[in-house]
Amino acid sequence: MAPCSSWSNLPRELIDRIFRRPMDSKDLARCTLVCTNWRNIIVDIWGKKLSLLRPAFKNPSRRILREYEKFQMDPPKGCKARLVESLFHWGAIMIGPQNSLYAGGVFLLNIHFSKKYPFEPPEITFQTKVYHPNIGQDGCLCLERSWCAAMSISNIIRVIYALFSNPDHEDPLDFEIAHIYRTQRIRYEQKARTWTKKYATARQNSAIDWSQFLMDHKILEPQE
């Protein structure tokens, strides 16, 4: 049999074959008791799926509530958030930062918290179409790498604002846009402005009524 250290390099199917059948979490948990090497290999390969090897997380609703209160008291400039269905689902609105390609644009976001928050990042998606190398075509943001439990939604919003002004083309989500950003900057800028004018308008469909916020930011005219 191959030495333990090289096991982690083997494909999952092969390990299943070695053990003669697909393994469920109970079998895996039993294998972890054999020795430290086995435990490390199993945690490496199946760790995320194997709830038996991890303690249950506390209910995050208290932390989310704290964060929501903090957000309402001191929101990032040009941004507002409201609860949609529950504490675990927020809706947010952002005004594109001045002196950027997205200036004056109105961007709607959906924020979903998992039961493992804050040890897992929230799922943030743009409802508004955005032409940006760090935002996926489906509007999703990748936070896995930069996330840590001490971060908050306010931090993330500030990071998004920073990305609007200075895209990170070294670590993109949309490689095509990143390539255009690197090679044809003028074309990228034109397209970003066009998309902002076309999609990031004040008259977007939303589950939340943002009209008051938009009036405060002089984007919507007060209705007579």
Binding site: A29, R30, P55, R62, R66, E67, C148, A150, S152
Partner: protein, 325 residues
């Protein structure tokens, strides 16, 4: 009075007998090294009168002697400070047989006042040396027209030898406030320099240190965004509730932080391997227990329920795996 004179006066002070075995910043020698740095002096004189143009970034003499010496002294001071504070507080929060022996001793000799005095001496020791390090680094930057001193200050923080950011300083503050709260009396004067407000958001401990230095230390856990409960300081100096630290290290509460893997990162600074040498902040916990009784009880009930749930899961899993069912 110049700081150099104040520091010398402090070193020759009569109360220094408490800290005779502790190292200090060799302020005079380091200052001499800077003043006799010939290569820099010649460069300074050859530069035009406009000091902003003088850019002597590398100086082998200083870089060899100065920074290595300062790092050695800083780590020695930090080590001495933490071990002395640990010893001092260990006497205060002793349990079991040790507590019984101490209470017997207390009948014959009241050493609580001596402990409070030693605590104050330790605070002054940390403060004076921290100021000395900052001053000397500022002088280095001024002489060399560089930012190496500022970078070195960041390095000190990264190496966890920055005294004014030490969790032991919070423990000392809590010790003072606890001493003031106890019935021994006579410490009102000393602890008037310390205050703690758990009702504000965020909760802070304010330390009014000598030389009009005011330190505000945040007592919020960055994971649950609540006041820290059963607080632990990781070896990087960041404070968390025990349950939050265990959750972020993916270990069970009953296993404790020692069971955390060396790859586990601090939720704030993302430093690796900071859980195994985590310190239980007993004085701060005692302070919280006294000042916020309702909150403390509520959190204790929560943690016990958590512990019960996790224990069932942990032992249930192990039993099933051992039996093979």
């Amino acid at each position: 009075m110049k700081f150099g004179e104040a520091f010398t006066e402090y070193l020759h002070g009569e109360l220094d007998k408490f800290l005779e075995n502790c190292g200090h910043v060799d302020y005079k020698t380091l200052k001499k090294v800077l003043n006799t740095c010939r290569s820099c002096n010649t460069l300074r004189h050859s530069c035009s009168s406009d000091s902003s143009e003088c850019q002597c970034h590398s100086c082998p003499l200083c870089d060899q002697k100065f920074f290595s010496e300062l790092m050695k002294e800083a780590s020695q001071i930090a080590g001495c400070f933490s071990s002395r504070v640990r010893h001092l507080l260990h006497l205060h929060v002793a349990t079991g047989m040790q507590r019984y022996v101490l209470s017997l001793r207390h009948c014959f000799k009241d050493d609580q006042k001596a402990r409070v005095l030693e605590g104050w001496m330790l605070i002054e020791y940390a403060l004076m040396n921290a100021i000395a390090i900052r001053k000397i680094l500022k002088k280095y930057d001024k002489i060399h027209g560089s930012v190496k001193g500022r970078k070195f200050e960041s390095k000190l923080q990264a190496e966890h030898v920055e005294l004014l950011q030490s969790p032991w300083l919070i423990e000392l503050g809590a010790f003072y406030l606890n001493s003031n709260g106890s019935d021994d009396g006579g410490f009102k004067e000393a602890s008037s320099n310390f205050s703690c407000d758990f009702n504000v958001n965020p909760p802070v401990m304010t330390l009014m240190l000598p030389h009009l230095i005011k330190l505000e230390l945040d007592l919020t856990c960055a994971v649950c965004l609540d006041t820290v409960f059963n607080p632990y300081a990781l070896s990087c100096g960041h404070l968390f509730c025990k349950s939050c630290a265990c959750s972020s290290a993916s270990v069970f509460l009953l296993e404790g932080l020692r069971a955390a893997s060396p790859e586990s990162k601090c939720p704030i600074c993302r430093e690796v391997g900071v859980y195994t040498r985590a310190v239980h902040m007993l004085e701060l916990d005692m302070l919280l227990k006294r000042r916020c009784k309702d909150y403390w009880k509520e959190r204790l009930t929560e943690e016990r329920a958590d512990m019960l749930t996790q224990s069932k899961l942990y032992w249930g899993t192990h039993a099933r795996n051992a039996i093979g069912y």
